[in-house]
Amino acid sequence: MAEVRLSGLSKSFGSTVALEKVDLEVPDGSFVVLLGPTGAGKTTILRMVSGLDTPDEGTVTIGGQLMTGLTPAQRNVAMVFQQYSLYPHMNVRENLEFPLKSPLLRTPQSEIDRKVNEVAEILQISHKLDNKSTALSGGEMQRVSIGRALVRNPSVYLMDEPLSSLDAKLRADLRVELKSIQANSGATLIYVTHDQVEAMTMATHVGVLDNGKLVQFGTPRQIYEDPVSLYAASRLGQPRINVLPADLFANVPPKATSIGLRPEHILQGEGEESTVTRVEHLGDQTRLHLIFKNHDLITVTDAHTELQQGDTIKIKPDNPLYFDASGARLV
């Protein structure tokens, strides 16, 4: 296991800038989640770290060693691809064995069997081991693909949206499994997703990417509570942060043009009136859709609320986040 350091990493594909001067330090044994929409450069970072692509500028160091010019095999990274990339002519067991059968490792067959069975157990694919890898569902393929990385003991795991095609229950199971595997083994893991639940629940660190730039890096809590920009703030939080023009409220800082309200920033029962447009009972909580001075808002309220559509409720911002015209946070 090792720490990973990216410094000044840039990459363009033709005229499209995929990454722009990204500096990132992934501590040894950390679980780093890269968040951002499609095209933000998340996958590009993984490919640079793995050595499948070479950066135009900047360097990658793994465990203190400069990786420039080294192949993925020499870097000893394990990667889970978004498109699974299973070996179609091999069955599930052969796919899982493939990395262990590398002549570099000289793993004895009994050890290979043990490892493969163990990983298959965790990923709930033991009963599929002798299936053809092309005769699996998308979720099963994805699990085999994760398994192919987990059987190894690399210096860093790279995972590109590994849980995206699983159903909700399995995804929740595997989130816990992956997190505990990582925590127990002390592995360094770089994980790409745009699912904020995965980011919040698994990450020790979150990196927020915007158009090839790393805009914020910190613990999930830091990014949630102390985002540097409107963009970073809207990456995390369910329901999403509400953004309203700042001039709807009194006492805002002079340069603020918009105000960001998470549910906990909205005090109910005081302040100005708003109209309830919809009530969503989710069981453990209730979501309120409100109209406040012609602006839509979503907040959370008591699970057993008596409020109904058409009711009015007074609300008031409580310690909200302020942003200037460029979207930067005002503190």
């Binding site: 793995s50 499948l52 192949t71 993925p72 095999a73 000893n76 990274v77 394990a78 990667m79 691809f81 498109q83 990339s85 299973l86 070996y87 179609p88 002519h89 493939f98 990395p99 590398s102 002549p103 570099l104 490792l105 053809k132 192919r148 190894r152």
Partner: protein, 315 residues
């Protein structure tokens, strides 16, 4: 449209029970559509085949239609299978098929592998390599007789240049030892591009991401080649071998133009041999038996091979 009473769509038509246009059942319409094809197939494939089998049991001669036709039973077959000339032709064919396939697969796959590497102008190279395949076999046979010409032939000059031997000291199509190789060389020259194209299709069907995964799984280029490239391209490779194998088993035009079966009957492949029996010696019954034997051989080999191919594809 919705049914007014039940509000449901009408049930879809169910096979032959539903009446189609003008009272014809679906099954009937189907038969009408395939009838011309079935008729043609029967008329130009199945009927001649059965007729050939019938003729093969007689001493019929197509140039003497008035002569009495005698029923010989399996005598023709017996005579063919004990005829040393025919065994020589079989051997010449086996030699030709084996070596053309081996060379074409080796060279064709290598070329495909090289062309598949991303480099500038590989489309142009593909076009150039494919050119020989587009020529007529008769033309190819004809101009290779010039290339093989001991005094003025480019081929002889080229070999002489490489080995230092006198170009006019050997004759590819005149020498008993060299002639079998002369036809192997020309067929390989002409048809390697075909094998290359099919192999190229096979190689292109392997997505880059598979190699990337293997790269991350720490497989060396060597291991990637043997565990990914070869197994994944194998069905294509086998298909190329099947096509070329069947084609070369019945090779005729190219070799007739090039050597005419000579010198002596060294390059007389079975199809040339057969043509001599049927249309020079006019032993129609005998030649029919010969044709049936060849048909059964090719058909048998091909079906065993196709079984193997399907097994490989199913993995």
């Amino acid at each position: 449209m919705l049914d007014k009473k039940t509000g449901q769509a009408p049930a879809p038509s169910q096979g032959s029970n539903t009446r189609g246009m003008k009272g014809l059942s679906d099954r009937m319409v189907g038969w009408i559509f395939i009838a011309p094809t079935i008729f043609l197939l029967l008329a130009i494939n199945i009927f001649p085949l059965i007729w050939t089998i019938r003729l093969s049991l007689t001493n019929y001669r197509a140039n003497r239609t008035n002569a009495e036709v005698k029923w010989l039973g399996l005598r023709n077959y017996e005579r063919i299978l004990t005829d040393p000339d025919i065994w020589n032709a079989m051997q010449a064919t086996a030699h030709f098929v084996f070596w053309t396939l081996t060379l074409q697969v080796l060279i064709g796959f290598t070329l495909a592998y090289l062309i598949n590497k991303k480099f500038k102008g590989n489309d142009l190279w593909t076009t150039i390599i494919v050119l020989p395949m587009m020529l007529s076999p008769a033309v190819v046979g004809n101009f290779w007789t010039f290339l093989y010409q001991p005094q003025i032939g480019l081929f002889n000059y080229f070999i002489g240049f490489l080995t230092g031997a006198d170009p006019s000291s050997f004759s590819m199509i005149g020498d008993v030892a060299l002639a079998p190789w002369s036809i192997v060389i020309v067929d390989t020259w002409m048809w390697t591009p075909f094998v290359m194209l099919i192999c190229l299709a096979g190689l292109r069907s392997i997505p880059d991401s598979i190699y990337e995964a293997a790269e991350c799984d720490r497989a060396s280029k060597w291991r990637q080649f043997w565990t990914i490239t070869i197994p994944m391209a194998l069905p294509f490779l086998m298909l190329a071998v099947l096509f070329r194998g069947i084609e070369n088993f019945k090779m005729f035009d190219l070799v007739v133009q090039l050597t005419g079966g000579g010198p002596g009957s060294i390059t007389e492949l079975t199809s040339i041999n057969l043509k001599r029996e049927a249309f020079e010696k006019w032993r129609t019954g005998y030649a029919s038996a010969y044709a049936v034997i060849l048909f059964v051989t090719v058909f048998g080999l091909a079906s065993i091979y196709v079984k193997a191919l399907n097994k490989v594809k199913e993995r």
